[in-house]
């Protein structure tokens, strides 16, 4: 039997070429949907604006701050929230059901590239477009809510890395969760449970410092806060450089855990694949 081993350098170069092409293709596609993308982004504003109005009201009622957040820093939190939420949009587990039923999963399995790269590259390309589209929205929110943000170059650099780390972590964990579909094509309830836990313990619903201590302790041992609270707090909450870099290290750790999880589950999932719909 033939067993050909690729040189790691050649493999990395091939993968980089793939990411560039897939990212470009996805970006071109997203630009062709710019009107619907804009409507989508605007539609997403309702959630953070509601949170912001509620917490600002509470902060003002409590003498100007709540959980260490002033009205200005809450505004900054939820404006950055809109960008981080965009970065958190990844291939949803429910999409696996559709992919399998429509036969598209078979097409992906036949390619000499792991399908997870396809989604990572595709969504990364789309995000470049979404960030461009987000800028005017951020400007409008800044004008409306007057955020208080005092940041240095290190914080900005950490934030720019952290939003991509958040994207990688959430992509990998939701991808691993989506693989459940290889065992049962009706895993929607499991996905919903995951999303509820994530909503509470990521910093999406409320800043983590506003949660009770026991909830924060649980959040510390889960990946969710590194996909939401950490990128936002890296700009909003004053922290030492060591602490910020430590956060990036934790993100790298969770990326590694997610990648290992995908690799392990994937190996078993493809053995289960029954190719229905194709």
């Amino acid at each position: 039997m033939t067993a050909v081993r690729e040189r790691p350098v050649a493999r990395i170069r091939a993968l980089a070429d793939f990411y560039v092409q897939a990212g470009k293709l996805s970006a071109v596609q997203q630009f062709s949907y710019r009107a619907s993308n804009y409507l989508f982004l605007v539609g997403m504003l309702a959630e953070p604006v509601i949170y912001l109005v509620v917490w600002r009201t509470i902060a003002e009622a409590k003498g100007g701050s709540v959980g260490g957040y002033t009205a200005g820093s809450l505004a900054a939190y939820y404006i950055l929230w809109t960008l981080v939420r965009n970065m958190n949009l990844v291939y949803a587990p429910a999409g696996f059901e559709w992919r399998i039923a429509s036969g598209r999963m078979s097409g992906r399995l036949l390619l000499p590239v792991h399908p997870v790269h396809y989604d990572l590259a595709g969504f990364a390309g789309a995000k470049v477009v979404w960030i461009v589209l987000w800028l005017p929205i951020a400007a409008l929110l800044t004008w409306l809510f007057e955020p208080a943000l005092d940041v240095g170059p290190v914080q900005v650099a950490v934030f720019l890395v952290a939003i991509w780390g958040a994207f990688a972590i959430r992509s990998l964990f939701l991808w691993a969760l989506g693989l459940v579909t290889f065992w049962t094509t009706r895993a929607g309830a499991l996905f919903e449970l995951y999303f509820v836990v994530e909503l509470l313990l990521s910093g999406r619903l409320v800043p983590l410092s506003l949660l009770p201590g026991w909830a924060r302790a649980i959040a510390d041992h889960l990946p969710f806060k590194w996909t939401f609270a950490f990128p936002i707090d890296s700009l909003v909450t004053p922290q030492s450089t060591a602490r910020l870099l430590g956060g990036l290290g934790m993100q790298a750790l969770w990326v590694a855990v997610g990648a290992a999880l995908v690799a392990v589950v994937w190996k078993r999932a493809v053995r289960r694949y029954s190719g229905v719909g194709a």
Partner: protein, 333 residues
Amino acid sequence: MSTEPAIDVRGLSKSFVVPERESGLRAALGGLVRRRTRTVHAVRDVDLTVARGEVVGFLGANGAGKTTVLKMLSGLLHPTTGDVAVLGHVPARRERAYLRRMTLVMGNRHQLQWDLPASDSYELTRAIYQVPEARFRRTREELVELLEIGELIRKPVRTLSLGERMKAELVGSLLHQPEVLFLDEPTLGLDITMQKRIRSFVAEYNRRHEATVLLTSHYMADIQALCKRVVVIHHGRLLFDGDLSALGEEFAAHKEIEVTLDEADADLSGYGEVRSAEGGRVRLRVPRENAPPTIAKLLSEHNVLDLTVEAPPIEDVIEQVFSSGTSGAAVPR
């Protein structure tokens, strides 16, 4: 060229465990307590060897196991038992080196981006398969020319007709110049002109690249135009493996005798089933084993000007095999 076969399959079987329950509320409630399953043997003990450069037709009724075999050969499915080697690789391992050397074209592969021109998707295919730039351009031009889709690859895929899209998909599937092609109903849903073009394209690709082709189709015209050898699978078992011409000999239950007499309006219904009669020319269908005595009787009792004996059309033979549930032993090559 290597003398090793392109495809070598030994004792290949695939079973699926599928849930089963009666219809109705009671059965649904019962299913909460005890889940019933059933094992479906989709493919059973298949042996198959295909030489490099060979074009083999893979025939079988719906659900016979053709697509399951193709999926195991391409690495999509893991066999339950048996050994498979394609170009020396074990497909189930899904090694990149193997996936770069083969393609599986199914009607619903959808590898092209719907809202973008096919040419954009082809660039991604180049990156996926790491095709050197010059070779990619050359191959793309060659395939586009062979399939005559020229400017179509620069139009958004959603604006193409089914036939145009199928051709664009085919180009995308072959840009990496695969050595083995698994084609699952490549002409399904296409009009006759488009079917012919796809057929001649597959033949030309096989000739130019000495590619091995395993083709399933419900259109016998595809099989007759492209395949000297056919493999018939029925209820998951290999029923026949041999020349297309020998398939009729093996399975045709009838022979068709066309006889021209010097008398018009002769009544030959006593010799067999009269299929057509026009002037002195009569077409009879007789059971295969009765053909020699019927011919002898015709020759002795009538003044025969001309007589030919033919196997029935291959479509009829195939239809008969599939509908009769024939379970004869496979014919080894």
